[in-house]
Assembly symmetry: C2
Homo-oligomer: 170 residues x 2
């Protein structure tokens, strides 16, 4: 298990999401509509709105880093009302993720029990928590935020989601 590698990738993906939000802001401006109309967008009426998709992506990354290094995750209030606010939420999360190094995760072994926030008396083994719960959940919310913008006509592609890749010549 290499938790740090996954946490760094979550940070990378959040940076990509931030760049996607920047594109949405610029494109909405060019088309002369309020980009914040996306905040309440849903793919179906009983789904969580766009704003919650971004918040949960951030919290998912923050909680992964904290719990797998034996720390308490910082509380970030759910008070965003604009896309600009959501970029601020991402920035706060990224600043927190930047405080970690590989050494922070070394003490937590794959079979360590991680107590689940908001589920008293329940836990998952560290590696299973990372691989079967946190990483898929994180990707789910980032992709759903992307899909909501894409569905609303924002011109983005998968390369915006994947971000720059370290491709070499052979």
């Amino acid at each position: 298990m290499n938790t740090y590698v996954v946490v760094r990738q979550m940070a990378r993906t959040l940076k990509n999401l931030d760049a996607i939000l920047d594109k949405a802001i610029q494109q909405a401006e060019a088309r002369k509509y309020d980009v914040n109309n996306f905040c309440s967008a849903r793919l179906f009426p009983d789904m969580l709105p766009f704003i919650a998709q971004v918040r949960i992506a951030c919290d998912s990354a923050k909680t992964t880093a904290a719990l797998l290094s034996g720390k308490e995750p910082p509380k970030h209030e759910d008070n965003e009302t604009t896309v600009a606010d959501l970029r601020g939420r991402i920035a706060k999360c990224l600043a927190y993720l930047e405080t970690f190094s590989a050494a922070d995760f070394e003490a937590t072994k794959a079979d360590a029990l991680i107590r689940l926030p908001n589920r008293p008396g329940k836990a998952m083994h560290a590696e299973e928590y990372l691989i079967t719960r946190q990483w898929p959940n994180f990707a789910f919310h980032v992709t759903t935020a992307y899909n909501l913008l894409r569905h609303g006509g924002i011109e983005i592609g998968k390369s915006d989601y994947l971000g720059p890749l370290n491709i070499v010549d052979v």
Copy 2:
């Protein structure tokens, strides 16, 4: 790097996707419409349709396992036209993933160069290929397939995507 753990999670996620397709089939039947109408569904006209989202998810998992163990991925023809066919595609992919064990991935070190299919002369380092390209790409296409069904009114939730989790009492 533990490629096998990620490959197993891809298999688990594909099983969850298969169960989601089964729910879609049953719900469409109950509402008396053809579930295969989803095959061409898109969230925006220039996106790949549902059928391609499922195919790419499968190929992404298959290619990850093959390339990171020094094997040639099997060719699966893109000839599906129904949701039942897509379940067959998933089954073929799962059967292939089942042939791997942890030992298959041991020889490939994190910095080994992995030649990219369809990009002659280009490669990525193994760990970066897995973490920055293959897993995010896989999760992207599974989530987009999920979102297309959700957008079309299929009653599914994130727990269908995450599947059963090994949660223990503490």
